[in-house]
């Protein structure tokens, strides 16, 4: 592959969507037919109709060298998936051009085209064909696909009887054996059980090392850090930052929890919400370890909650999940008979203080929700970013299988009785 030719080159890509229910041209059949038959509409859009469009993506210029593994990060709705959809030709851009050199495969969903009535074996062929494999290619790699999925005994069972985990395994197994030059991956690794997720990630790692060009969208910063050399940070449909993964992810994480940054308010100003979590930090800790725990001192988790409209009676919940996704602690604002919260508009810090967090080293997920008492209406449901890093030195048994959940040093006295 010639080094000077980029695998992906995009110039001025933009995508405009109509928001709200789609009633073409105000619902008039005549206007719609006129557009279809007569090419572009000649009449200038009225100011009123302009406001009903949303640029999901705007002015995207990209040059990605062959063999690069690029991460794409950003909050929900900033155009990450739209970018992948345009590059994989699922939909046309509204403006701009892109050129891709090499065979392109996209993995926007696991098991696209699976049919419940068909067996695992049949679906492997169908899904392979839909994703761009020839029958001969599927034949050749069939055994590998089956081995990867670990579903040998269920190959002749209709997929509708599969558990969701099995379904995902089969879908990813096929996807893992596509042989593209350019692979576009949307947030698909976040499904399935943890050991399988890890295997997928390892597989992606292998793919990345074989010189393939990969674009990888994810909300899991650990995955991005592990796989991608460079990362694109998308915000409100534009590229906010593009550089070495470490730097970009650090800046992205810092901002998504920091005080309402200008960019953030810009991209969300038009969204109406009653209450939303903006970020978290460990109270009383220095900046560099505002999100980590390295001792057995009390830990005060300060969640920043932005309240837009008055909440007469509300309550919040918080959970910590370990790296295996097991819930290890949960708390709520009303625990211990504290009652509901009445919050006027403004920004609040909800501080949950724990006497200590004696956990094994690792990245723990923090999840928080906020409800309105009336109707138990969910106002926000939030996976904290960055994750909580525990770096306590391990005090437990050195052998893996004897490591428990708690990481607590203990004393020993020996007395003769």
């Amino acid at each position: 592959m010639s080094a000077e030719q980029p695998a992906i080159a995009a110039r001025g890509l933009g995508k405009r969507y109509r928001i709200g229910t789609y009633l073409p041209y105000g619902g008039t059949l005549r206007g719609w037919m006129g557009d279809l038959l007569g090419g572009r509409r000649t009449a200038a859009p009225s100011p009123d109709s302009v406001s009903k469009f949303l640029w999901a993506l705007k002015d995207i210029d990209l040059e990605i060298p062959a063999g690069a593994v690029i991460g794409i990060v950003g909050r929900n709705g900033v155009g990450k998936s739209t970018l992948l959809k345009i590059l994989s030709r699922i939909t046309d851009p509204t403006e701009g051009t892109a050129e891709l050199h090499g065979k392109v495969a996209s993995l926007l969903e696991v098991g696209t085209g699976f049919h419940g009535e068909l067996t695992g074996r049949e679906n492997i062929y169908l899904n392979g064909a839909i994703s761009g494999m020839t029958r001969a290619e599927v034949d050749r790699r069939f055994d590998e696909i089956v081995a990867f999925s670990e579903l040998e005994q269920f190959l002749d069972t209709p997929v509708k009887r599969y558990s969701s985990g099995m379904y995902v395994r089969l879908g990813f197994a096929v996807a893992a054996h596509l042989d593209p030059d350019i692979l576009l991956v949307d947030e698909v690794l976040a499904v399935g059980d943890l050991s399988f997720q890890r295997r997928c990630l390892n597989h992606m790692n292998d793919v990345a090392r074989t010189g393939r060009t990969v674009l990888f969208v994810s909300h899991q910063m650990t995955a991005i850090r592990r796989l991608c050399t460079r990362t694109i940070w998308l915000e409100a449909g534009r590229i906010r930052d593009f550089g070495p993964t470490g730097d970009v992810v650090a800046r992205y994480e810092a901002e998504s929890l920091g005080s309402q940054a200008p960019g953030e308010s810009g991209s969300h100003a038009d969204l109406t919400y009653k209450a939303r979590y903006l970020g978290w930090k460990r109270e009383g800790a220095a900046d560099e370890n505002a999100h980590s725990v390295s001792d057995l001192d009390p830990v005060a988790l300060r969640l920043k909650l932005d309240v837009r409209e008055p909440v007469a009676a509300g309550y919040g919940g918080i959970e910590i999940f370990d790296p295996e996704d097991k819930l290890i602690w949960s708390g709520a604002s009303y625990d211990g008979g504290r009652g509901d919260l009445a919050l006027a508009p403004g920004t609040y810090g909800l501080v949950y203080t724990l006497p200590m967090l004696p956990l094994k080293p690792g990245a723990y997920k923090l999840h928080a929700s906020f409800y309105e008492r009336e109707g138990r209406r969910l106002l926000d449901d939030w996976w904290a970013s960055p994750e909580l890093i525990v770096s306590l030195p391990p005090s437990s048994h050195s052998q893996d299988e004897w490591q428990g959940i708690l990481n607590l040093p203990c004393d020993l006295r020996v007395e003769r009785e």
Binding site: M1, S88, D92, L100, G211
Partner: protein, 280 residues
Amino acid sequence: MTEATRPLDVTRIRARSGWEALDLRELWSRRELLWFLAWRDIRVRYKQMVLGAGWAVLQPFIQMVVFTVVFGELLQVPTEDGIPYTLYSFTALVPWSLFAAVLAGTASSLTANAGILNKVYFPRLLIPLASAAARLVDFGIAFVILLGMVPAFGIGLTPNALWVPLFLLLLLACALGVGLWLSAVNVYLRDVQILLPFLVQLWQYASPVIYSAREIPDGWRILYYGLNPMAGVLVGFRWSLLGTPAPGPEIWISVAATALVFLTGTMMFLRVQRTMVDIL
């Protein structure tokens, strides 16, 4: 990378406007997918049915029985050359069933496959083509029964039967053409889905299925064949299999109308497919 000599495919993406030609090379390169999609349709359709492919025969057969009783016996609808009404109607019902199924399948093909269309790219035309191909299997079964029925009713098959594939082609082009038009419109206006059964029903009455095209007054023929290409198809089927009078020069009006519908339908489809997932 793999073989360094392999030339890389180049994908160009841009905002397209206006009409464009069909990329036949791309379509051909994904022909395997056509078979897989058709095979999926067939598998899924018959997998949970006791009668399975038996329905392919039963559907036109039941209609034939009803028609024979109602139109042949009660209303005494005349046939041509003294051919029994049962055979006369079945000869038209077999191709008509195919037409109706392909038309309906094509018209709803985009909306029915929205999930796939939203997640992966392949030439979109493969979806309606595959659903049509799947229907051909049903037709094949019913057609074999029809071929058996003709001599059973004492009519000798002639070399004219070799013309059937041409009429079949005309039928498919017409069903796909109209179906592609409707599928494109259906993306924007789902009303099409509800109107479709009525359309098929009306179209059947407007076609020489129950009656003979002979009944059409001379002055109306050009309009009849021009507006309804299925008239030429059905007259053609009866001529090649039953030896009834051959289609007149009006058949060329049907051919021209079909070509027009097929061409515009395909263009319309190609145009809508570019951004239809934004709406689907």
